[in-house]
Amino acid sequence: MIDAPARTAWYVYGVAEDEAALSQLAEVELIRQGRLTAVVREVSLDEYDETVLPQRLNDRDWLEQNARAHEDVLQSAAAVTAIVPLRFGVIYRSREQVGQMLHERSDEFLVTLERVRGHVELGVKVWADMQMLGRTLADGEAPSAAGAGAAYLQRRRAEQERSRELAVRCAELAEEAHVRLDAVASAAVANRPQPRELTGRSEPMLLNGAYLVRDGDDRLRREVERLAAEHAELGLEYELTGPWPPHNFAGEAQ
């Protein structure tokens, strides 16, 4: 009996230019086409076939292991050269097809590489303690001496007005933080804040920003510290993550 040929394919992590720098990476292969080099790994189709991939993604351990592996490869590549991260789960059935893809999108990759070269991505999240922030708003009107029903309505209206003011204040603070961080970054993106059901935190997230900064440039980190100090008494908390490979700046011109 003859064994069926192993069903393998090539998983693409990212695209870079400097093949020599990448050759020191462990556990990956390189596919070169023109000026570009794709960082790939041969994977089993049993793991990544489109018929099994959706189920695999719902296996928390598989997801975590593979998402981390994707990130790890990009991190080690980004440590030696500029790289354009690809989204998780791009797979080709042959090396030739990877080369073909590099050829077809070469202009776009070269432009993006130029943009991210020498840069890292930093993430900034802002969380708000709503009770603390609420206390910093001006106090509402003093309760009037009206009857019980009228007083109730008045209280309701005051509460609604207050929660509107609070929402406006949150939006202003998020905007202020993003504008100030954008001013010290080469590029900036304000992503949709992660919802509470996903963060598991009781405080809402006001800002979920990503900033492209020159490697070694300390200005964004210092601006985060300044903002955090200024906004501490309002109940805001700043969280800085990274450096990440430039995931948020890999697409079309920002």
Partner: protein, 64 residues
């Protein structure tokens, strides 16, 4: 699992969320022979939501 271990699992979940947000949701979109669809990624978020919800429920039960 103790409440503390639960909390720890929750903390790891948050890290996984950041990872998923970047690795599965960002980066250049290239159409391979096999490519993750938007629907697949949406399902990942649904899965994470369920995981967190059940962790939170267990937390509440443990606290009782």
């Amino acid at each position: 699992m103790s409440v503390v271990e639960r909390r720890q699992a929750l903390a790891e979940q948050v890290t996984l969320l950041d990872l998923v947000d970047r690795v599965l949701n960002k980066g250049v979109v290239v159409t391979g022979d096999i490519t993750l669809s938007v629907a697949d990624v949406d399902l990942v978020y649904v899965g994470l939501r369920l995981l967190l919800a059940s962790a939170a429920t267990l937390d509440r039960e443990a606290a009782r």
